[in-house]
Symmetry: C2
Subunit: 199 residues, 2 copies
């Protein structure tokens, strides 16, 4: 039996979603067609709308539906602090803490010469310009704690130091609620090295 071509096309298209293979795509398309056609219509519209209207902020490369994002436009935020993150979702995680009042630079990836991702692709020229404008007093590196993330952070740190601006990175240590038993030795070593005197 040949599957109707419209269904086949939908199955193929659903596989662009991360973590969705042939089996899951089939399950999703059958669910939508059988139980939720209205939802499928809404999803189709939301996808087209988002692809058309979501662009990257001209200043920090965060997602936005204007030219510059809400954070860069907000004049209550401290423009002298720039936090460097890999993805918009990392930015959202930091925003969710409600503790940080500076601005951001979103790399949209990490250095990966083999994949053709160099400083230009990470928008480091944009970051340079912002630092050179003279307003910036500190750059906080909040890249992932992976080999690639650390390498990227190291590269950016060298660049920023050359411009005589302070650089810092997030503290590494025991996570809240983490039992020492379950913390890996590398994290524990960092926590020891970074121990703080109690007042």
């Amino acid at each position: 039996m040949k599957i109707p071509s419209a269904l086949n096309r939908l199955n193929e298209a659903l596989r662009c979603l991360p973590g969705v293979g042939a089996k899951t795509a089939g399950r999703m398309s059958l669910h939508l067609l059988q139980n939720d056609r209205a939802g499928a219509r809404v999803l189709a519209e939301a996808l087209s709308h988002a692809v058309e209207h979501i662009v990257h902020c001209a200043s920090c490369r965060n997602f936005t539906d204007n030219e510059t994002c809400e954070i860069c436009c907000d004049n209550r935020r401290d423009n002298s602090l720039i936090c460097v993150v890999e993805t918009p979702s990392d930015l959202m995680s930091i925003e969710a803490t409600g503790l940080y009042n500076g601005v951001y630079h979103v790399l949209l990836g990490h250095l990966s010469p083999l994949d053709g991702v160099g400083p230009k692709q990470l928008g480091l020229d944009l970051l340079d310009e912002r630092i050179k404008s003279g307003q910036v007093s500190e750059v906080i590196l909040a890249t992932s704690s992976t080999v690639e993330g650390e390498a990227t952070a190291h590269y950016i740190a060298q660049q920023v130091k050359a411009m005589h601006v302070a650089v810092s990175s997030l503290a590494r240590g025991v996570p809240m609620g983490g039992e020492l038993d379950y913390v890996d030795s590398s994290t524990l070593a960092h926590a020891f090295k970074g121990r703080r005197p109690l007042e």
Copy 2:
């Protein structure tokens, strides 16, 4: 920080997919916007197209983009055998075996009075009509081996028997490649009861 409304809308819309919660939806939308906008556009079109063009076959309720599905239209298939399945994906699994040459009736669910799913919702009136036309010699019940599936099969069996047409159900037993150690006792009991003489 407020998330751009177009992004928010996409996150909400993605949750209509089965097994996709808030976290996965966020990951999906960021992936699409960051790495695969072309894929997102294709998906939007495929969704609209499928919702518009995929309908249920007037005879067997399978998915089709015509009035009757390819199986019902195919005059090489044996119209005297009707296999009753719960969903189009069950139908596709049976088709994949390449062993069955009859036609189908797709219930699109199972009996569930509390959810308002009765014989009418399962298209049993359609099935009755086909049986009454006189061509049918056997109805094969291939509903799921769950309580609901079995109850539905029992109900249909009563109806078909009343019309003096043979009814059968799929064999229950040890699956191929299944080690006896790992087969549950209920399946094993069925396999014992249904044992076959070796020639």
